[in-house]
Symmetry: C2
Subunit: 233 residues, 2 copies
Amino acid sequence: MQARPEDAGELSTTDRTGLRRRRERGSHDRTVAQAILDEGLLAHVGVNDGGTTVVTPMTYARVDEQLYLHGSPANRTLRLIADGAEACVTVTLLDALVLARAAFHHSMNYRCVMLYGTGTVVEDDAEKLAASAALLEHMAAGRSADARMPSQLELRSTLIVRFAIDEGSAKVRTGGPVDEDEDLALPIWAGQIPFDLVAGTGIAEPDLPDGTAVPPYATRYPARGPVRNTDTH
Amino acid sequence: MQARPEDAGELSTTDRTGLRRRRERGSHDRTVAQAILDEGLLAHVGVNDGGTTVVTPMTYARVDEQLYLHGSPANRTLRLIADGAEACVTVTLLDALVLARAAFHHSMNYRCVMLYGTGTVVEDDAEKLAASAALLEHMAAGRSADARMPSQLELRSTLIVRFAIDEGSAKVRTGGPVDEDEDLALPIWAGQIPFDLVAGTGIAEPDLPDGTAVPPYATRYPARGPVRNTDTH
């Protein structure tokens, strides 16, 4: 199997910035990749559609070493993967804008997983049900016990694809800017502006029956990752 | 030029959910696309790298009908685009998780732009400088006046690619879940959990010279889009 660009890049020492100053790290650590996948909500899935590269946002869920992608059988990207197309599944978390003294050194702190491979259609009803539950749990812990789970007809109308978390890599940039030594005395503010994806209070449908219990994730959705912004605005 | 999947999808009426109940809308409105591109911070850029689809997160900035992508000349995706590879540039904003009564109808509210085309390397120093300023302004309004702008050497070490905002589409889902009529009486909480990408207070580098002015975006980074979560936690 050919070397993947991201794998190759990880071992490279030809990058403009030497190792001593690098704030970006490649990793094949499964724990790192799993944490990113579990925190993220959106994957960007790339496939080759008759010669055109198409990148589509999709929901997903991880179960052990598998990623489940799902959608309507009319979803073209999913259909292509179901038919055997190779895909690249990328999940990126933005952690901070990194403002350097020099325009040239502005950057971003992020955590990213890129997975490569082919998917397999989930045909077995029990696995489809388990994947449906995992997709709901990935949205909100406890949701699969609260929602009405799929009927036979609904299961048949859902296309679920299993994608192995196998070939790929994670990339993480952390820390402040890396400026040139001669710029450090400039009176230019430099640092990080941290970002968090913050959930608000749930907006209930207006027609819920009286007495419908409000689940905890609807009133106080738990932080999906490390909470860094205590002073948000 | 072949029809793009997302364009085709937009006119389709074969989708499981009839038009009456659709909450997802395709659009070729440039205003919609520009607003999404201006609010976003990360693009996911897909290219075909010798037969393998690769999706990489990148920063960008919009200037009129052009998108600028930039990075080190060692950035493989950027080099491929510089060499003429077709790319798909997707920017997605997650607005809410949509929890339906039925597992089957869980969804997401999002705004997404997908652009297709080829890029052109920016060779002209004046345009490179303007693009560098735009990339900083996209991160934080006012930053290009504060930062040290690129030297000749730095300009030569930066690969900037111009990508026309021309072929593509936007897709937007809004509103609550669409459940089956027979599920509406179930005592299951349903609704939206809104999300915002929230900036925290800037974390200054420890070695800033005394008296360095703190810019407004470092203390109170402005909201990038419509503020929806007044009651965040």
